[in-house]
């Protein structure tokens, strides 16, 4: 499969179908069992990554400010005296995710939604042409989700390539340029309207037969597919 620059690619699949592993393989953290990943240019420095929070240690003694400033780590040389934690850029990023008030607090007081917004601010700080998001909307409230969705759409407007693992089929149909459906040992890649057909979703173990009827209706209402 070939993902042109500036694409917004959704990676879908049931739990355990390999969405996270696929993203990690793209990032070079895991080496693929077969096949290879080629990048247009040098990978590091230019990739923003927001992992699932399973490995994240929220009890680490760090101020919210410093957590967000981590996004600039790749660009900071050892001898650099510049403090990103107090830069205007950081204030702007914090303002975008509505966290100006808690910048000096230790990060363990943040709620799940606030932490996710702080991590999005870190992605903003990274200012990377490639953005990888692994289930960015899991376990956060409606308001935060709306805010973060707007940010992601904005990144696409700016011409960044966005790859995201996601479960919200309706959002994928509405906003994404391409979709990759993983499951049952197969991968289907293409435009969202073509990939997310009832047949594919049932065959690849994503939806049960009775739930699949819903996706057809939904696609019809979005004008993506003529009723079968």
């Amino acid at each position: 499969m070939d993902v042109p620059a500036g694409t917004m690619l959704a990676v879908l699949g049931a739990n355990g179908s390999g969405k996270s592993s696929f993203i990690k393989a793209l990032l070079g953290v895991l080496s693929p069992l077969s096949g290879e990943v080629t990048w247009p240019h040098q990978k590091t420095h230019t990739v923003a990554y927001l992992a699932q929070r399973t490995e994240f240690d929220q009890l680490f003694p760090l101020r919210v400010r410093d957590l967000i400033a981590m996004g600039k780590w790749r660009g900071t040389r050892f001898w650099s005296r510049r403090s990103w934690a107090h830069s205007d850029e950081l204030l702007d990023a914090a303002a975008r995710v509505d966290l100006q008030g808690v910048l000096n607090e230790p990060m363990h007081i943040l709620s799940g939604g606030q932490l996710q917004r702080a991590l999005f601010a870190r992605v903003i700080m990274q200012d990377a042409p490639f953005v990888f998001l692994d289930e960015p909307f899991s376990a956060i409230d409606e308001k935060s989700e709306r805010l973060l969705q707007e940010l992601i759409l904005e990144w696409r407007e700016q011409g960044r390539t966005v790859v995201l693992a996601i479960h919200d089929l309706s959002a994928v149909l509405r906003h994404c340029d391409a979709a990759l459906l993983l499951g049952e040992g197969r991968a289907t890649f293409g435009a969202p309207g073509e990939v997310l057909t009832a047949q594919n979703l049932i065959d690849q173990g994503y939806l049960s037969r009775d739930r699949a009827a819903w996706i057809v209706d939904h696609q019809v209402s979005l004008g993506l597919q003529r009723s079968a």
């Binding site: 990032l27 953290v29 590091t44 992992a51 240690d57 680490f60 003694p61 760090l62 101020r63 050892f78």
Partner: protein, 288 residues
């Protein structure tokens, strides 16, 4: 007290040791390796004993033997936990027990002149120039390495997935940290013995966690706490004749730790505040 050169040496040694061990201890605790640190302290014993039996009490052989044994146990247990069903902590525990038993067995079999007691509890009041030099070298290496390692260590401890995606060689950070850990344990081994070596790593760091908001604070509080424990501990063991100084130091550190959990802003006080905060929040979930 200052009239005795062995007391002056003991003060100098524990001061250097405190500054060197605080940053290592901070990350040992934050990386959830507290108990692994204890295990590593025992794991280096056979290396030190073998080096001692064959070359006598030289600092170089202690360094080489200890490093070799420590890295061997760390590597073996890592390989075992990756390739078999045995978990990491269990395999490390198994190897350190073997190593400790082997060390004490060889020590006794060789009919050593160094009593077991000084291996277990150290000989802080009998430090020679070479041992002081070793502590100086360990502290220098640790502090210089940390000036490079601090940022990568923060990231790999706090958010390993992010760190792996950003770093070119993420494993270097983890390995370098293990080497620094073993080096500091070796320094502490000479002064505090294999049983108490980890004390100055863990206790000031856990106490500092009750106070610190940032990692700088965590390390800073750690340095202060271990300095205070070392100095007070030495004074106490001087004031009460025939009391061992290693355990006295650790007891003071333990007292500071207990005090911190009681009055520190992130100790018991914080738990109470968190509970009342939760009670204030409206119930968002509808009853099922």
């Amino acid at each position: 007290m200052w009239g005795y050169s062995f007391m002056r040496r003991a003060f100098a040694a524990t001061t250097v040791l405190s500054v060197s061990m605080a940053p290592v201890g901070a990350f040992l605790v934050l990386r959830r390796l507290s108990l692994a640190g204890e295990a590593m302290a025992h794991a280096i014993t056979p290396g030190i004993v073998i080096a001692f039996v064959f070359t006598g009490l030289s600092v170089t052989s202690l360094l080489v033997g200890g490093l070799a044994a420590g890295m061997a146990v760390a590597t073996l247990s890592a390989v075992l936990s990756r390739t078999t069903i045995i978990r990491g902590d269990a395999s490390l525990a198994s190897f350190y027990l073997i190593a400790l038993a082997l060390g004490i067995f060889i020590l006794s079999a060789a009919g050593s002149a160094v009593p077991l007691r000084s291996f277990l509890f150290g000989s802080i009041l009998g430090l020679d120039d070479e041992s002081l030099l070793l502590l100086g070298v360990v502290a220098t290496v640790t502090l210089v390495s940390f000036s490079w390692l601090l940022r990568p260590l923060i990231m790999s401890t706090c958010d390993p997935a992010f760190f792996e995606s950003q770093a070119t060689r993420p494993w270097v950070t983890d390995q370098a940290f293990m080497v620094l850990l073993v080096l500091n344990l070796l320094g502490a081994f000479k002064t505090m013995g294999t049983l108490m070596a980890v004390g100055l790593l863990i206790l000031p760091a856990t106490a500092a966690r009750c106070w610190a908001v940032s990692i700088t604070g965590q390390i800073g509080f750690g340095v202060v706490f271990s300095l205070v424990s070392s100095w007070l501990g030495l004074c106490i063991s001087y004031a009460f004749p025939d009391t061992p100084s290693g355990p006295a130091i650790i007891l003071v550190a333990g007292f500071i730790f207990l005090l911190s959990t009681l009055v520190g802003p992130f100790g018991f006080g914080r738990r109470i505040r968190l509970r009342s905060f939760k009670a204030d929040k409206p119930q968002t979930r509808a009853p099922v």
